[in-house]
Each structure stands twice: as C-alpha cells, then as structure tokens.
C-alpha cells in the first residue's frame, strides 16, 4: 500500500507511531487499520512528525540525542539531524523548512534548518522544555517547560523570548487555535488546560475535568488537538484513560471517551474524520470517529506508544 500513491482514495493515510520502550515506529494503514510495518529506530523514540510534503518522517530518538529522518515510503533511514541533547518533541515551521526541537536535558529550544542539516538558533527556556507550537502566521513559537511550569513565547524573527506565562504543574503540549488567537496548554500534574490569549498573554480560561469514580490526581491532560473548524478540542487525560471532548466556544466538556491506558498524544487524519491516540500502558492506538465521537477501533502497536503523526499516502 505504500507504493502507487497516485489515484489513491483521499481517505488513505499512513499513521506513524513511536514506541518509546522498544525503539520502533509502527506504521498503520488507516484504511485497513492494521500495522503494516514495524521499523527499528534509535533509542527512546518519542516526538514524531511527517514533513509537509509527506516525503519524510522525523523521529526524536531521545537517548541517541538526534532526530532520525525516515523516507516516508521506503521507511529507510535517510539521515540524522543535529537535534541537541535529549530531543523529546518538536514542531515543524509552516513552510516545512525549520524544526523547533525541545532539548529536555539542557533547557534549550533548538531551531534546525532541515535543508542545511544544521542548527541555526538555540533559545534558552525553562527547565525540561517539552511542547512546541508555531502560530499559524509563523511569527510566534511557544515552548512549555515541565519543571518551570511556563509557556514561553518566542519571536521567530529574532528568536527572543517575549513573554512567559505561568500555568499549573508540568505543562506538556501547546496548540494554537486555527485563527491563531488562542493558545491551549495542558498541565499534566496540575490537571488543567489553560487557554491563553496570544495577543495579551493573559489566561482567559482554565478548563478542569471531572470523571465519576476517577480520582482527580489521575486526570492528567497531555495531548491536545483542535479541529480545523474551530468547534472542538480533544484533550488526552493520561492515566484517566479518557479523551475529553471540549466545546471551544463554551469551554464545557461535552464528553469523555474511554480509550486505552495512559493516553498520551493524538493526531487527526488529514481529513479530520478520525483521531488516533497513543495509549502507553496498553500498547495500543485508539481510533476515534470525530463526527460521532465514538471510539471505533483499538490497534495493537509496540511497547509504550508515545507519539503519532498521520500523512496522506
């Protein structure tokens, strides 16, 4: 299925899932919803993203201190990028030319020019930098730091820090709304999602979660994905084993979807009809139907799935 892409149906995609503990990437055909290949990569693969042109897959192999570049079709390793130490997550610039990498062990964000295969800037941020998000207009890069507990706003013209916004403990993922006006930040240990006004850097909403019979301490928001139409947010709640569906206008939680254990990161299919979640403890990926808000499938992958990225074939 990886060959003969021309003429493939619009809904045929490939999902790439990093498996943190067995050093592999599981490759899933979204039509058959089966793992079609398991690719060995470096040690402790976590963050993963497919290039804008869909030709390359970038994988943070944290314990090897580098980013591996895989050919999206052959899944052969093409080269490695100089990531700085312990790369955990990253974001791709909107033009696909730059990678913004969190170096968890040295409190830096490294900016990598992919074509030049070189680091072009390093920005000192808080302790244990984690999530990266780039604004839709490309002018603002946001980094979250897990021990400093801040979202750091960086001007991409100068690579200078322009603001730090304090949030609850252990912020993980930052995501811009489609219009670029708001930034959503999950706090894993603090149990909240903060919505920050990008222009003023003010927190406009703190979203809490409550699930009957689940202890509050077990509700640990990590992954966040916002629908392109701006109506819904999906929040992965870690050991609560649920994904919360939030109305982005009222900030009310509409529904909790039961998925696998320790649900971590998520990715939409490019048509936004399905959402894939990585479930670390149950070693599987749950597939959520976005329209019906139902979990329709569980796909067994490798050990401790962490990140997921989906691209057209």
């Amino acid at each position: 299925m990886l060959a003969g892409v021309a003429g493939a149906p619009a809904s045929a995609y490939t999902a790439y899932v990093t498996n943190e503990k067995d050093n592999t990437v599981s490759v899933i055909d979204t039509v058959t919803q089966k793992v079609v290949k398991t690719v060995p990569v470096g040690r402790r693969p976590r963050g993963i993203v497919v290039s804008k042109d869909g030709k390359e897959v970038y994988v943070c192999t944290s314990d090897d201190d580098r980013i591996e570049v895989l050919d999206a079709k052959t899944l052969e390793s093409l080269r490695t990028l100089p990531s700085g130490p312990d790369p955990e997550t990253f974001a791709l610039s909107n033009d696909g030319k730059l990678l913004f990498v969190s170096n968890e062990d040295d409190n830096m964000v490294t900016v990598i020019d992919i074509a030049k295969n070189a680091s072009i800037a390093e920005v000192p941020v808080g302790v244990e930098p984690e999530g990266e998000a780039i604004s839709p207009d490309g002018t603002v890069l946001v980094n979250t730091s897990e021990t400093t507990n801040m979202a750091t706003f960086i001007d991409t013209a100068t690579w200078k820090v322009v603001a730090n916004v304090l949030v609850e403990s252990r912020p993980r993922i930052a995501v811009f709304s489609a219009d670029g006006k708001f930034l959503w930040v999950s706090s894993e240990v603090g149990g909240k999602v903060n919505v920050i006004d990008v222009a003023t850097h003010q927190i406009v909403k703190k979203i809490s979660f409550a699930i009957p019979a689940i202890n509050a301490d077990a509700i640990q928001p990590v992954g966040i994905r916002l629908t392109a139409d701006g109506t819904k947010a999906f929040v992965a709640l870690g050991p609560a084993n649920r994904v919360a569906v939030v109305d982005t206008k009222t900030y009310e939680v509409q529904k909790y979807l039961l998925v696998g254990q320790r649900v971590w990161q998520m990715a939409f299919t490019p048509d936004q009809k399905q959402l894939y979640t990585t479930n670390g403890v149950t070693n599987d990926v749950s597939v959520i139907d976005v329209d019906s808000l139902k979990v329709i499938k569980s796909i067994t992958v490798g050990a401790y799935p962490w990140g997921v990225s989906i691209a057209p074939n």
Binding site: D86, N107, V127, S169
Partner: protein
C-alpha cells in the same frame, strides 16, 4: 488566575549555548565562591545566577548570564510592569529578587563498619544543588536569582548558632538535614523570626505529632509514611502475617513502633516480634559461628514477610536467605519503602535521574531527592508568589492550592495540619520498582496520599496553617 509574568528579553550578544546554568554540563566551575562568612561553620555561598563576581579566570560565563538576567530586571522591567512589586534597587549588583536559601547539616561521620555503599559526603547537598540549577533556570525567565549558603557542621559545632547566622545573613529558608533534637533546638531558637526550616532528614513521627512546630516543614517522609506504604502493599497482596525483627539502635525501635501501628491500621497480623541480638552480621563473614543461632531464630515463624527494622543496615540483608524457611524480607532492607530510587524512571523522572547522574557521577539517593523537593518547593513558591521574602515564600508553600510536580505521577503538597509533604512512596528492590503506595483502593476523603502517615484526625500536632506553636 495565575500571576502574569514579566517578559524578559535576552540580548543578542549572548550566544545561547553559553548560558551557564542550562543544566547539561557540570557548571560548578562557574559558581562564584566567596570567602566563608562564618569560618567556624565552613559556610560557603553558591550563587546560582551570580552577581558579586570575584576575581578569577572562570567567571566569563557568569558575566554573560548576569548581563542578560540583571539588566532587564532593572529599568526595562520596572517600566513594563508598574504593578509589580517595586525593585529595591536598579543596580546590576542588586537584582530585584534574590532568594537566599541556607543548607544546614552535620558533616557525615564515617560508618561504624565498612560499607561499600556508604552515604557519599555530598548526599543531600547534591540534590539541593540540582534543584538550585532548576530554580535558577526558571528564575532567569522572571528576574529571580537564587543563592545557596551551605553550612556544614563539624563535630561540636552548634546548629543553633549556625542557623541564627544563616538567618542573620538573610537566609530565612533553611534546608536542614539534622537529627530531631537538633532540629527542635533550631526551631525554638528561630521562633519569632521570619524563618522556615525545611526538614529533609529527620523521619521521626514525633516531629509530625506532639513535637511539631509551626516553623518546620517536613520534606523527609515520616517513618509512619514509609511503614504504611509497606503495610498497604502487604494488605493489597493479602500477605497478612508479619514477623518483625528489630535492631537495637534507637532508630530501629522507632521504625518498629511505626510498623506495629501500620500493621494495626491496615489489618495485618503480627505473628512474631523479636529483637536482633546477633550483631551486625550483614557486615561480616557469612559463615561465622553465630550464623546457626540466627538461623534457628526464625524457625517456626508463620509469616508472609519478615519485616526488618535496621536503619543502619547491620543485619537486614543477612536475614534474607538465612531463614529457616523461605521467607520474603521487607522493611529497611529487602523490599524497601523509599521516597526515591534509581530504579524509578516513570513520570518524567528519567530526566531528573539523568541530570543528577551526569552532574554527580552517582545515582540520586532519597536524601538527595528530599533536598531537591524542598528547594524546588521554595522555587515554585517564589515564582508563584513573585517574592523573595522568606516569610511570603514560607506562607505560600502552605497554601491549600500549592503543589509541585515531583516526578511521582501526582502533585505533592504540604499537609497544613502537620506540615508534612504528602507524596507517593516507592516500594523498591535494588533493580526494580515493585510497587507504589498508596495502593489502588485505599481511599481517603481528601487525597489517597493522606492514607500514608498520621492523618489529621489522629494527629497529635496542634498547630494549624498560619499559627504558632
């Protein structure tokens, strides 16, 4: 709403990779060392984003840091944020907020008997220094700097005098690794002053009960928390029969008393309770003549686990594999409840473990972790309170909504009624995390974490948040 933080813009002149407190490398060479202020205490000041530069060839990185930490902390910041607390001075030598922390401990004596894994000389302080780096990294984003004043006492030196000297110098937050009596003496001496003692070493339950103090926060676990964690695990496993073997040291007696309470609390059964009178066999040849006696000692014991109370490590490891019948061993040896262990790598702890090992060339021990937690709590409170005042930071740490992420999967926080840090307790053996308490199913109206240690209704502590003893 969380406090709005001040923007801070590093100047272009600083190459990012020269930032001296990035955490990757061992930055000790960049620390400013001053002459000991109180030579008799061999005090040392370590500035973690230092000003007060001294002469020397290794301060270049520090100058760079100062330049872009301090300059924005003066005119630019004051102008940008008029509502913020006023900066005391617009001079680079006097940053807006300098959080001054004291570290008070006795120099560790040699072990009474050879121990290949004896405590390293820097146990505790090494964890404090890692937390200082973490705080400094956060501080540079908000215009706060941190200094650690290390006061390590030799035999005969007075911890009370050292503590007073620290407070006189402005270090009103004192991280203390002292035995209970010395801790209480220091507490009494600092009564009425704007000082908080953060106990990282003393596990005595009386410090959380009858002898609790309004100016001591406990970042060390109580023995009761440790033994409750083990007892919960035994209860969850339905291994209800416990045989206790208790050493002759006073600390062993306290551990045993805590374990006996835990046995009752969690519905276990004490099937035997004997003192260990055979000496430190774990530190001697395993084939001594006494061995047969020790073997007979456990004959006929009906127990699922033999719980040893041997804090000095004199015999607990010997008991394992030298029992009449095959028995599990737990307590101070065997399956051990602890705040930290190298075997933990979940909940992001791999990052802290890596930072620690890279800097110190050894695994992080529980005391290192307890020191890290205490100093991180100070840093978190300073950031959120946007204050350098010992009084305000001390009060902020006791707020109901104050919590820190401490790599245990759930937030940890101080119990306001006895000022004990509530936290999950690991159950470990040397190469494996066996379990984590509280165990699933042990419920509590406030938090399952309060199922470990003396809970509020049974607490003998009469202080409450904000009050004085």
């Amino acid at each position: 709403m969380a406090p709005r933080l001040l923007p801070l813009v590093p100047p272009d002149s600083v190459p990012a990779n020269t930032a001296p407190f990035g955490g990757l490398t061992d930055n000790r060479s960049a620390w400013t060392k001053r002459p000991a202020i109180n030579a008799s205490h061999q005090g040392r000041m370590r500035k973690f984003q230092g000003m007060r530069l001294v002469s020397g060839t290794r301060v270049l990185a520090l100058v760079c840091a100062s330049a872009w930490i301090i300059l924005p902390a003066t005119a630019d910041r004051a102008a940008a944020q008029p509502a913020s607390p006023p900066a005391p001075s617009a001079s680079p030598a006097a940053p807006a907020q300098d959080i001054h922390i004291g570290y008070l401990a006795n120099r560790r004596p040699a072990p009474p008997i050879y121990d290949y894994e004896d405590d390293p000389a820097d146990v505790g302080i090494a964890g404090a220094r890692i937390a200082m780096k973490d705080n400094a990294t956060t501080g540079r984003l908000v215009g706060q700097t941190y200094a650690l004043d290390e006061s390590i006492l030799d035999k005969g030196q007075s911890p009370v005098d050292a503590a007073k000297a620290l407070v006189d110098k402005g270090a009103g937050l004192i991280v203390a690794d002292l035995p209970a009596d010395e801790l209480l003496a220091v507490s009494d001496a600092l009564k009425g002053r704007d000082a908080t003692i953060l106990n990282i070493g003393a596990e005595d339950d009386r410090l959380r009960n009858a002898d609790c103090r309004a100016n001591i926060d406990h970042f060390a676990p109580s023995r009761q928390m440790l033994t409750d964690a083990l007892a919960q695990f035994l209860s969850a496993q339905r291994w209800r029969n416990v045989f206790m073997v208790v050493g002759l040291d006073p600390a062993d007696t306290l551990y045993a008393e805590a374990m006996r309470r835990s046995v009752k609390k969690f519905g276990l059964k004490l099937t035997g309770d004997k003192p260990w009178t055979f000496g430190p066999l774990a530190r001697q040849r395993a084939d001594g003549p006494i061995r047969a006696d020790a073997f007979i000692f456990t004959r006929g014991v009906d127990a699922d686990m033999i719980v040893v109370a041997d804090e000095a490590g004199n015999f607990g490891d010997f008991v394992q594999y030298h029992t009449a019948e095959p028995k599990l061993i737990g307590g101070t040896q065997g399956l051990t409840p602890a705040t930290w262990s190298r075997v933990l790598d979940a909940w992001g702890s791999a990052q802290l473990q890596n930072r620690f090992v890279r800097t110190n060339k050894r695994p992080m021990r529980p005391l290192d972790y307890q020191a890290w937690t205490a100093i991180r709590a100070i840093g978190e409170a300073a950031t959120r309170a946007h204050s350098a005042s010992a009084k305000e930071i001390g009060a902020y740490m006791l707020r109901q909504d104050f919590e820190i992420a401490a790599f245990k999967g759930v937030p940890v926080s101080l119990r306001t009624w006895d000022r004990q840090l509530r936290q999950p307790i690991l159950l470990v053996q040397p190469k494996m995390l066996v379990s984590l308490s509280p165990q699933t199913g042990f419920l509590h109206p406030i938090t399952p974490l309060d199922s470990l240690g003396s809970d509020e209704p049974e607490s003998g502590c009469k202080i409450r948040s904000g009050g004085n003893p």
